[in-house]
């Protein structure tokens, strides 16, 4: 690459900076930036790195609580206390744009980046989860993206030895051309081993560790801050190439080095690579940093300073160590056959100074790049589409003739069907702590050496948020919390990844605000503070913005692992009880979408106080060992939930007979709305008949409505209303539909 001779406005715009932003840069510096500096500003002020559109709204999130040790935003990831001197570090991040043009490497490097964010804090990564969204599989391109993304996650996660224990996959046309790939990593550290991502101590050496720098991923942060277009395929060079083996070495070497006590600060060279890691550590440490690019290991010839500063080559870290500890440091990295090259030192002048041997190629106050980046209050407007579809009555929609068929279609739909085809490509057992495997409501990971376990899940429903972003945001949190409750864990904290369209479109920004408000309110009442997160804007395809899709990653804690609850029915003769009520809320349901092709209506209302009461009740009866199973009632409604309870324990399926007259409200609700409506705050449990009175007492004390629906028995799922058959299917048939929905029999 050759440096342009002068900086023109076209060049500024090509860097994604506006004219006003460029003027601000000139004013701050008191001069024109050179080409390298322009590149540095462009990535640091990109939406991806600066959060310039989202920052003001993210302040609404509750971020403190008794379990929060390090709050969101203070470091690369928030830290949650789980007792006994242990802390959980978790974070979720998107890799949507790279995955749209190069699914395998896009997803793989997404996994790599988030793992580094966790171990740079001194935590051992113990689990990965993935929240994925694609267009319909009927389209070959979408199938290519889907299998490429799953393959990339598998290749990277499996090689690094971190189990991929959970996640979710949705298919909807809104994600056509702009799939969502959100990866969550969770780590555990001793509280006193936590490391900060800051540069302190004048004269302390700054080390470059890991892979050599190449031209891959050049300007990836800016690429991620634009809309995808037909020409996006040309941006393939902006996608990085992952080397999970190198990552594994980095992970072990860094954790080993941290144990020696020589580390001052550490940061991953992720988005914006060398630029962000140097300027952010200096800025957080209220110090400065001087680096010499001629010392940077590289794998290509003729790279200019601009390229070195903007490269997003993977598996690289910036490590600041105590002066005089170079030899100890080198010993660790030599053992793991990794570079650890001193490229500069910490200063106290507040500047990021970049040299190329004797030439000064950039000199910018670090805070100009971080804290002083522009912040925008974007214009917002309620979208017009809502007026047309928000309150459509379902009376015009024909009731199905055959409920057997409807249930079979729902179970066989890729969004609802078994995700075994996906998760069996992931090593979910490594580290021998996965007590509850993928496929349940939440994964459970024990913490060796304690009696504790943590529960993890991620959740989000774009269709809900399209129809009502506020309620949809609330539901994302509530459902995630309900999922961890169903396995017997107390919800502790969330992380999130907020996937939206172009924030300069007023309706997109309105969606964003309403979602954030919903998440904030739910986190407040459910007492699950936000420990960190990530915002991904510009998720658009040529047809427009994707449905607003906030994904919530939830951490739950099981204090004493003497009983962990699973979703499937277990014993013949157990009673089936629904905690919560049926309101027949059918708007925004999977049923309307799939059977009637309709994406409209009023989505289920979520009463947060009721939600909390249902969760408290469920947790109490699980902890008292009163239940045999518990399963969250979500997409597909009551009928799908019942079917899942019957068939999800392959080889040990259990049938059920359900009598719908248990619902007093039944007479006023249409059968399809009753069976497939997605009313919130419901959990389906089963229990021995002798435990029912106690469960009733707990529910009444918490003012939670409940209904005794039926009994676990036989090898069919039968639903009756006043002795009349509504639905009756063999488990064999249900199981086959559900198991083959995604795999098409391809084992």
């Amino acid at each position: 690459m050759k440096e342009p001779e002068r900086i023109t406005l076209d060049l500024v715009r090509a860097h994604g900076l506006t004219e006003e932003e460029y003027k601000k840069i000139k004013d701050m510096l008191g001069r024109d930036p050179n080409f390298t500096e322009l590149g540095i500003f462009s990535v640091m002020w990109s939406e991806h790195c600066s959060y310039k559109s989202s920052k003001p709204l993210l302040r609404m999130f509750p971020t403190s609580g008794e379990n929060i040790l390090i709050k969101a935003g203070e470091e690369n990831a928030g830290v949650v206390d789980i007792g006994e001197g242990l802390a959980v570090v978790m974070k979720m991040e998107s890799h949507n744009h790279p995955s749209a043009v190069e699914p395998f490497q896009g997803a793989a490097t997404g996994v790599g980046g988030i793992i580094r964010d966790i171990f740079t804090m001194g935590a051992r990564p113990i689990a990965l989860l993935d929240s994925l969204r694609f267009g319909h599989l009927g389209n070959g391109r979408n199938r290519y993206l889907f299998s490429g993304v799953v393959g990339g996650i598998a290749a990277y996660g499996n090689c690094t030895g971190i189990p991929t224990v959970g996640g979710e996959v949705y298919f909807d046309e809104t994600y056509e051309g702009n799939p969502l790939v959100n990866v969550m990593c969770v780590g555990v550290a001793r509280r006193d081993n936590l490391v900060k991502a800051r540069a302190n101590g004048v004269g302390n050496p700054v080390l470059y560790v890991g892979a050599d720098t190449g031209r891959d991923g050049l300007g990836g942060a800016s690429f991620a801050s634009r809309e995808l277009t037909k020409e996006s395929d040309k941006d393939r060079p902006a996608v990085q190439i992952g080397d999970p083996f190198k990552e594994k070495l980095l992970l072990e070497a860094c954790l080993e080095l941290l144990n020696t006590g020589v580390v001052v600060g550490m940061q991953d060279m992720g988005a914006a690579g060398l630029t962000s890691s140097t300027s952010e550590t200096a800025s957080r440490g209220n110090s400065g940093m001087r680096i010499d690019l001629s010392l940077v290991p590289r794998r290509e010839e003729g790279m200019i300073p601009y390229e070195l500063m903007l490269s997003e080559s993977q598996e690289r870290m910036l490590v600041i160590i105590k002066r005089g500890k170079e030899r100890e440091t080198r010993r660790v990295f030599d053992k793991w056959d990794l570079h650890a090259v001193p490229i500069g030192e910490v200063t106290d002048d507040g500047y990021l100074t970049v040299l190329d041997k004797d030439t000064r190629v950039a000199e910018i106050p670090a805070k100009f790049l971080t804290e002083d980046a522009p912040v925008y209050m974007r214009e917002e407007r309620e979208p017009e589409y809502l007026g047309k579809i928000k309150d459509v009555s379902i009376s015009t929609i024909p009731e199905p003739q055959d409920y057997d068929d409807v249930l079979k279609i729902l179970l066989a739909s890729p969004t609802i069907s078994s995700k075994r085809w996906v998760y069996e490509q992931y090593d979910y057992m490594i580290r021998t702590d996965t007590v509850l495997r993928p496929g349940g409501d939440a994964a459970v990971i024990r913490i060796k050496g304690t009696e504790k376990a943590i529960a993890l899940t991620c959740d989000g429903n774009g269709r809900y948020c399209f129809l009502d972003p506020y309620e949809g945001g609330k539901i994302a949190v509530a459902e995630a919390a309900r999922n961890v409750v169903c396995v017997g864990a107390k919800p502790l904290a969330i992380t999130n990844c907020l996937n939206f369209g172009n924030p300069t479109k007023p309706y997109v920004f309105w969606q964003f605000r309403r979602c954030v408000e919903g998440i904030a309110d739910a986190c407040g009442i459910l007492e699950t503070p936000v420990s960190g997160g990530n915002v991904s804007f510009y998720n658009e395809n040529p047809k427009g913005a994707i449905d607003p899709t906030p994904v919530v990653g939830m951490l739950g804690l099981i204090e004493k692992m003497d009983f962990i609850c699973t979703p499937w029915f277990k014993k013949e003769g157990d009673l089936i009880i629904l905690l919560g009520e049926c309101r027949g809320e059918i708007g925004g349901s999977e049923y309307l979408q799939l059977i009637h092709g309709l994406k409209l209506g009023r989505i289920p209302r979520l009463d947060l106080e009721r939600e909390r009461a249902v969760q408290d009740t469920c947790l109490e009866v699980i902890r008292a060992h009163l239940v045999s199973s518990a399963h969250d009632c979500s997409e597909g409604g009551l009928a799908v939930t019942l079917a899942e309870c019957c068939i999800s324990n392959s080889g040990k399926e259990r049938g059920a007979i359900i009598e719908l007259e248990a619902f007093p409200e039944i007479l006023s609700i249409r059968m399809d709305a009753l069976l497939f409506g997605e009313t919130q705050s419901r959990i389906l449990i089963s229990c021995h008949p002798r435990n029912f009175p106690q469960i009733q007492r707990v529910a009444r004390r918490n003012k939670v409505p409940y209904a005794r629906l039926g009994v676990v028995t036989g090898d069919r799922l039968t639903i009756r209303k006043i002795k009349k058959r509504v639905l009756d299917l063999s488990l064999k048939e249900l199981g086959e539909k559900w198991r083959k929905g995604l795999s098409h029999g391809d084992d």
Binding site: A154, G161, K246, K248, E424, Q425
Partner: protein, 230 residues
């Protein structure tokens, strides 16, 4: 007795094996870094699963050149007990300590799931606590696990009772549906001719506690303890 768990760059089941030996069996165990050249004082060496050298080039192909491999080869030659699990098995194949090779799974994808394996030979230091025909529930987690050897090699493996485990159904029957990766002759694990080196694709260390879904894998480690301690 003392176990050694060999750590190659990219090994990732090393901690899991170490944990089973020390915490569940209560036996002595040490890690052995791959740059070491001696293995004195050990009774049994475990080559754990993982992606040594990223499995670049071919699984196990680079790890076999690690300095420790010469010592392991000598150790095995003297009759020392060696277990290669998953990637460890692949390394033993590349080192010619065991015959045959691994191909990609028949579905060409990584597979992580519990499978059933049948004990074919219990007169080994690794299976002396098992019954012939006993079915063990143990998980697999690999992409290159379809065992292959030519006709003659398979014949000699059979003749010398070197096939130790075969993939099977829950009831112990042999059928292609219960052969997860397409291995030749359902082979899940083999030994060398002398019977002191075992390679297997399933992970017994992941099936050594009831909370993880099976304790069957412990039988293999406990058999070793019995063989050594008597």
């Amino acid at each position: 007795m003392k176990f050694g768990v060999v750590v190659f760059p990219g090994s990732n089941c090393d901690d899991d094996c170490y944990y089973v030996v020390r915490d569940l069996l209560g036996e002595e165990v040490d890690f052995i870094w791959h740059k070491e050249t001696r293995v004195e004082g050990f009774d049994c060496l475990i080559l754990p699963g993982g992606f040594s050298y990223g499995d670049y080039l071919r699984t196990g192909a680079i790890a076999r050149f690690s300095p420790i491999m010469r010592a392991i080869s000598n150790f095995a030659g003297r009759g020392g007990l060696v277990i290669g699990i998953c990637n460890g098995f692949q390394i033993l194949l590349e080192s010619n300590l065991l015959p045959g090779a691994m191909m990609k799974n028949k579905n060409l994808r990584f597979i992580c799931r519990f499978v059933n394996i049948r004990v074919e030979n219990n007169l080994t230091p690794f299976t002396n606590l098992c019954q012939i025909g006993q079915v063990l529930k143990v998980p697999i987690a690999h992409i290159d696990g379809s065992y292959y050897a030519d006709h003659e090699t398979i014949g000699s493996l059979k003749e010398n009772n070197q096939i130790i485990f075969r993939y099977c159904s829950e009831e112990g029957g042999l059928a292609q549906e219960s052969n997860p990766n397409g291995s030749k002759d359902f082979i899940a694990g083999i030994s060398n001719r002398q019977g002191n080196v075992l390679g297997l694709m399933p992970h017994p260390e992941r099936a050594s506690e009831s909370i993880l879904g099976s304790e069957d894998g412990r039988l293999i480690f406990e058999s070793v303890v019995r063989a050594v301690k008597g």
